[in-house]
């Protein structure tokens, strides 16, 4: 079983829609959770960084972590064509673990 599972999509939505992206994980020791956005032929850029369970909001983006279900989500409100990219979730144990474990990424296209 992979450490992190993410539906690769592709996901296609009309402009203005609410987008929900999700990851599940198997290691209950993960404490740090991240979402990255990666445009084609570019390196990933950090969107959201959260510690432990709960919600975090930043503009049109909301990250949710449910440690009891080992499930994290990223919501994008009022989606824009510029949001078209691949979204990667990542997580880390944080204490003695230096590794960050990444999902395979979900490809999103927002249609004008």
């Amino acid at each position: 079983q992979k450490e992190v599972e993410q539906d690769p999509g592709p996901l296609s939505v009309p402009e203005g829609a609410i987008v929900s992206l999700n990851c599940t994980y198997s290691n209950s020791a993960f404490q740090y959770f991240m979402w990255y956005r990666q445009y084609s032929r570019k390196g990933p850029e950090l969107l959201m960084y959260t510690y432990s369970s709960g919600n975090k909001e930043d503009g049109r983006f909301t990250a949710q972590v449910d440690k009891s279900s080992k499930y994290i989500s990223l919501f994008i409100r009022d989606s824009q064509p510029s949001d078209s990219a691949t979204y990667l979730c990542a997580m880390s144990r944080g204490n003695t673990g230096n590794q960050f474990y990444f999902g395979t990424g979900t490809s999103l296209t927002v249609i004008p």
């Binding site: 740090y32 032929r41 390196g43 230096n98 590794q99 960050f100 395979t104």
Partner: protein, 113 residues
């Protein structure tokens, strides 16, 4: 300020040749990571450097892969006797310290013919 830079941006090589990829992290970042991203797949951790500590090499797929870092600056990833399955984008990231957010470079796209 300057972000993480990587060179070359693209590298085409023949099977069996050695290649060297370079990463210049953000100044002051003590942690440096190398990842491999195969087409349609997620990021695969390769190696991690933190200050003067021994690097975490647990992700290196074989002894053909090695990496070095000079202090808290430049890092090079070397792949010896390249194979076609080594074809991928190699990404470097740096962070201020462990658990801090990682800043990624644009990657080196390696193609082994």
């Amino acid at each position: 300020g300057a972000g993480v830079s990587q060179s070359p941006s693209n590298k085409v090589t023949e099977k069996g040749k050695d290649v060297e990829l370079r990463c210049d992290p953000i100044s002051g970042h003590t942690a440096l990571y190398w990842y491999r991203q195969r087409l349609g797949q997620g990021l695969e951790f390769l190696i991690y450097f933190q200050g003067n500590s021994a690097p975490d090499k647990s992700g290196l797929p074989s002894d053909r892969f090695s990496a070095e870092r000079t202090g808290e600056s430049v890092s090079t990833l070397t792949i010896q006797r390249t194979q076609q399955e080594d074809s991928a984008v190699y990404l470097c990231a740096s962070s201020l310290a462990v658990y801090n957010e990682q800043f990624f470079g644009p990657g080196t796209r390696l193609t082994v013919l």
